[in-house]
Symmetry: C2
Subunit: 479 residues, 2 copies
């Protein structure tokens, strides 16, 4: 477009005082027929536009309503008002797009997150969601930046897959069949040979197995892509479609894996603190406001910013599952029967309440638990010499619980095959996976991190549906 | 792991002469019981390991076979041999994983691309695919780097969607139904209310419409994610699952769109040239070898590197569809009836042969065609004042054809609604999309680029199945 706009982020950062410039954005508020708060999405902050009395037609001023899009040219001057250092004295003003104030769903007042979820196509225009999605961007960029600097190769693992070995939950079917008219075999079963892929296909639950194939050739790789669960969980913690990061390192053991995960989490949180401070300050204030509604005892001891800085600046606590069970079993919470699921002894799967006790009450910092009982972990995890545990690690974060799940992988062909048989994993079908153990196998390790859980942790949003642009969950596939 | 390995890329780049160091990798070849070519995936180049006669047991040496994984410690010394500047004098040698030379499918000889496609889980260990997937990584990183530097927000548009307005081709259905037993309504139709999402859902064909929603709030955004087509095209040009990049800019017109696309393509190709020169040199040699099989007349005039440098250093040719039709109609190729589809006149859709004629014969450079007849373009493209054309642009690249398709979007509510009605797009269902035009609409523009087409262009690979780790196409969903 002929007149180049300057982004409001740049206007405010560079303080172009006395410069003539053009901005474009959406009206947040218009006070006293004189002060427009204009936002263009580049930053949480609005630019104040000042309208001189009598300079523009009343007809034009009437069109300056919340949600309308404007193009404004003028001179940037120091502001005498409170709340901003600079303001733009409008010399030319054009309404690019009107917004009927009666009909525009976003009024200049506080809307509930539930209401905004219903209009997810418009919630980008609020301060809260502008901040969330700018932070989401920064975290995504930091992830690529971290791995690229460390020499990891970004691997696009497949979305549609015929393998269901992870068995991590129910999967979505993918088919090109006309569902009204599915071809059958002579035996009356579905004739998958006639489907697009010639066999039953579903949406991936994890790219890990494919990442292992690549790591055992390229060295260090990571995936960052969508994964899917058809679990009917209508909660604030689950999505049917979410993004996962799964690094995989050849020539690595469980300690390398823990070191990578801790360094990784600290790096990306620090990146957000360094690059999105305005957005995080806004989200911290929002969270503090939300916490005021809670009884004192349930409020966080730390502000959002303090919590993030704490994670960046402190070592994560590392201990074994066995040590954790001891702590939990002897805890006042367990003895006073405060746990919904009492700690009955070694071998149980930890519940969210146990993880939170360790992180929030006992250690008061992120915790890495290692060496879980093999019975409660996946077939591909490396068996420890004790015959009872596997080289798994989970990272637990305050307020979120498990944020990372990883392990050293079983690289010994025979041990792996035996474990697969014990767990009824189809060894024959997984022959491609076992080939990596047949030909030049090496110790290797990796982990998975749910991107939305991480964003929740960084933004302080309590509902996972608020940190992904268009959430998918039971009975919801809008936009 | 206790002994830290040094990546071979670093060993070779930093020339750690006389340093004691440990490397780990896979054996490519073992000559004369003395020289091992070791590759660890970090670079195309192998490190030469020298085995002193008599230093190791014969039993150990016998296990050094193609595909075996080794850990080698020793001193890096200047090499007297041809082909490498340095070599590692082995002092300690451990076989991490054996590889039965009889059974390992990758022999130290040239395999066909078709054969390697069948063993996609192992082809990462070849020079060709190592190079391709390192280049793929670099291009992906360059994409994020480009947009992040320019202040674009990365948007994860949804993968599962109920909207099919793009109508860009057949879509895959996504369902949690037991396909053997799909619930029916009283009328005998499928009862989608009982499906996971409560309505029919499918895999996205494009994130553009969602990107528009975000751009009209955040300013500049881009998507980079998987998209899907259930087209039964069993060709070297089509995948059922592929990755797309779709930037969308608010306050932008068609010229801004062309400028962004051209700058973008040049940036990422230059990034690969700067960061993956070894891999590209290898792929250029591979391509030159492949071209020798062709008759002289079909060979490229430029080498792969020359072609990439040419794109980086030259302006793309910009012209209208109408001008292109004139050129084609008056071309010797058309007059001599060399086109399979003769140019009958204004209004026809250009075929691949026409695009390639313009790019490869007439202009001999990438071409941007704009202002296409509205009848052959999508409903959301902005109508030009001539009433006949829309503000569309396609970028055509040598050897590939269309690599980018973009447009200024129709931001005028009434014009858009009329066009949707003319084209039988369900206006009511798309009400969320039209809301952006109802409330503060602004001129905006964007484009889509197929990532695999771009990788083909940069790597010189002729089959699209060779530039994605695990290709999905009719009757193929392996690994």
């Amino acid at each position: 477009m002929a007149d180049k706009r300057v982004r409001i982020k740049e206007v405010l950062a560079e303080q172009l005082i006395n410069h003539q410039l053009t901005v474009m954005g959406w009206v947040r508020t218009f006070r006293n027929n004189q002060f427009i708060a204009l936002n263009d999405g580049s930053t949480n902050a609005n630019l104040q536009i000042v309208i001189e009395l009598g300079k523009f037609d009343d007809a034009l001023l009437k069109r300056i309503t919340t949600g309308a899009a404007l193009k404004v040219s003028g001179t940037l001057v120091a502001s005498l008002g409170k709340g901003q250092k600079v303001e733009l004295k409008a010399e030319q003003l054009e309404v690019l797009g009107d917004s009927d104030a009666e009909k525009f769903p976003l009024q200049p007042k506080k809307h509930s997150l539930e209401f905004l979820r219903e209009i997810a196509h418009l919630r980008f225009r609020t301060n809260t969601f502008g901040a969330i999605f700018r932070v989401r961007h920064s975290l995504a960029f930091a992830i690529h930046d971290f791995f690229n600097k460390k020499g990891f190769i970004y691997l696009h693992s497949p979305i549609i897959t015929a393998s269901d070995a992870e068995g991590a939950g129910e999967t979505f079917h993918v088919t090109a069949f006309d569902l009204e008219n599915i071809p059958k075999t002579d035996q009356g079963t579905i004739n998958y040979k006639e489907d697009f892929f010639g066999k039953a296909a579903n949406l991936t639950v994890s790219g890990q197995l494919e990442a292992e194939l690549a790591a055992l050739a390229l060295g260090d790789v990571y995936t960052f892509g969508p994964t899917f669960r058809a679990e009917n969980s209508n909660t604030a913690r689950h999505l049917a479609e979410f993004w996962m990061i799964e690094p995989e390192m050849a020539f690595a053991d469980l300690e390398d894996d823990m070191n990578l995960a801790e360094e990784f989490i600290k790096y990306i949180i620090k990146y957000a603190l360094d690059n999105n401070r305005d957005d995080l300050d806004f989200l911290a204030a929002r969270l503090a406001e939300e916490e005021k509604q809670k009884p004192q005892s349930e409020r966080s001891e730390m502000s959002l910013i303090e919590k993030l800085e704490f994670v960046v600046n402190n070592d994560f606590e590392r201990l074994t599952y066995t040590e954790a069970i001891d702590i939990l079993q002897n805890s006042p919470a367990n003895k006073k029967k405060k746990f919904h699921y009492p700690i009955s002894g070694w071998g149980i799967d930890l519940q969210s309440e146990h993880e939170r006790y360790l992180v929030e009450k006992h250690f008061k910092k992120p915790v890495i638990l290692i060496n879980y009982p093999k019975e409660i972990k996946a077939f591909y995890m490396r068996q420890n010499d004790d015959g009872k545990t596997v080289a798994a690690m989970d990272i637990l974060a305050p307020g979120i619980g498990e944020i990372v799940g990883g392990s050293q992988r079983e690289e010994r062909l025979e041990v792996l095959e035996n474990r697969m048989q014990e767990m009824n994993i189809p060894v024959e079908e997984m022959s491609w996976y076992l080939d990596t153990r047949r030909f030049g196998t090496v110790p290797h390790a990796g982990f998975g991190l749910g991107f939305e859980r991480l964003i929740q942790f960084v933004t302080g949003m309590t509902n996972i549906r608020d940190v992904i642009p268009f959430p998918r969950f039971p009975k919801n596939v809008e936009f």
